[in-house]
Symmetry: C2
Subunit: 201 residues, 2 copies
DNA sequence: CCTCCGCGATGACATATGTCATCGCGGGCG
DNA sequence: CGCCCGCGATGACATATGTCATCGCGGAGG
C-alpha cells in the first residue's frame, strides 16, 4: 500500500481528492491537513510514503512545508499538486526537495499514476513546464525588491510601503523602478502581475 | 437516483468531485464539462436533475451558463460551487436562477447533503454569506465604470484603456475616479481589488 | 414638462509615480 | 587590496494619475 498524507486548504477539494485516491486499491490516505503546519505535524505522526501538497495555503505554504518535511520526515517523498504551473514555483519546489510537480488541470487519472511512479523512485514533471522554468531563468529580483513589490501588490501607496518596511520613500521608488525594469513592465501593477505569473513573489 | 452534470475547469478537481459524488448510492454523475458552453450542451443532451457549476471557468462562466440553462433545460436545477464566497457572486447567481450556492472550503460531506436538499425543493445558501450579500448591497458601479475598472485590472495605463474602449483619456480618468470613490479606495489598484472581493467585476 | 442619471468630453489643478545621477556603507571574492 | 553588488538614501525631473467644475446629449420616470 502507498500511504499518502494530503494537504489542501479547500476542504471540499481535499475530500474529493481523498475519495479519488481511495478508489485505487494500492493507495491509502492516512492523513489530511488544511495548511503547511498541519501537514508537517500529520506527516511526523503517520510517516507516510508520500506527502501530496498544495502550494497556495494559508500560513505555511506547500513549498515551505516541503523543506520542513525533508528535515523532519526524511523517508517521505514530497509531491506538489498546484493550480498554477508557474515556472518559479516549479524551481522553488525542486529546490525544496520535491520529487514531483503536478498541476490540477491535468487529467484526474494521472494523479495515481504519478504517485506510483514516485514510489518507484522516478521524478514526475510536465516536460513543457520544465522547459518553461529553464528558459525563464532564475528569479532576477533581489530579496528587497521582492519585499517591496509584494508590499505594492495590494494597492498600497509608496508612503504605505515605506512605513511598513521602514524605508524612505525614495528608496521604495528606486526598488520599485528596478523591479519594473527587471520584469519588463511599464508600471508597478504590470510588474506585480508579471512577477506573480512567473512565481517570483 | 439524482442525476448530476458537473462543470469545473480543472480536470483533476472535476474528476475528484465526480469520484466523491460517486461514493453516494443515490447520486450519479451523468456528464462532465470543462466550461460553461460544454455544460449547457451536456445538460441539454442528458437532462440531469442538477447542474453543479463552478463560476470561474474559461469562456462562458458558471453564472452565464446558469442563465442559459434556465431557458434551455428548465427542469434542471442549478447549483453553484465556487472557490470564492463573494457577495456579488451570490447575488448574480441567484438572479441567474441558481437554487444553491456552495463554497469549496465547506466540508466535503456537505456536498451530497446539499444536492439532496435541492432535489427536495429547498434552496441551500450559507447564512453568513447571505447576510454579507444583503448588507453589502447591490453593485454600485455603472456598466461603463465596470468596463473601465476591469480594463485597468491588468496594469493598463489610462491611454491603453482609452484606446481599447474607444474613449477619450479624460473620460477614462473620470470613470476611474468615480469607481475609486464608490469603492472607498485610494487608487485604481485598491479599487480593482475591492471590487473583485465583492464580486462586482 | 421637467428632472435625474448615465454617458462622453474638456480643461485645470495638485499629487503620485517612475527615472536618473549620485552618494555612503559593508560584505564577498578574485 | 580592489572591485562588484546589494542596501539605503537624496534631489531633481518628467509624466501619469486622481480630482473637480462644467458642458452637451438622450432616455427614463415622476
Amino acid at each position: 500500500m502507498i500511504r499518502v498524507v494530503l494537504a489542501e486548504d479547500q476542504s471540499m477539494v481535499r475530500g474529493a481528492l481523498a475519495s479519488l485516491l481511495g478508489l485505487e486499491p494500492d493507495i491509502e490516505v492516512v492523513g489530511e491537513a488544511a495548511n503547511g503546519d498541519e501537514a508537517v505535524a500529520v506527516a511526523e505522526a503517520t510517516r507516510p510514503d508520500i506527502a501530496l501538497l498544495d502550494i497556495e495555503m494559508p500560513g505555511r505554504d506547500g513549498i515551505a512545508a516541503a523543506e520542513e518535511l525533508r528535515r523532519r520526515v526524511p523517508g517521505c517523498r514530497v509531491v506538489i499538486l498546484t493550480t498554477f504551473g508557474r515556472p518559479g514555483y516549479l524551481r522553488r519546489a525542486m529546490e525544496a526537495g520535491a520529487v514531483a510537480f503536478l498541476v490540477k488541470d491535468s487529467p484526474a487519472r494521472d494523479l495515481a499514476a504519478a504517485l506510483r511512479r514516485v514510489l518507484r523512485g522516478e521524478r514526475v514533471i510536465d516536460p513543457g513546464l520544465a522547459a518553461a522554468a529553464l528558459s525563464a531563468g532564475p528569479n532576477p529580483l533581489s530579496p528587497r525588491e521582492r519585499d517591496v513589490l509584494s508590499a505594492a501588490a495590494d494597492g498600497s501607496t509608496i508612503n504605505d510601503i515605506a512605513l511598513r518596511l521602514h524605508l524612505s520613500e525614495g528608496t521604495v521608488r528606486n526598488y520599485l523602478s528596478a523591479a519594473i525594469q527587471k520584469t519588463g513592465a511599464r508600471n508597478r501593477i504590470e510588474a506585480v502581475r508579471k512577477a506573480q505569473a512567473q512565481g517570483w513573489l
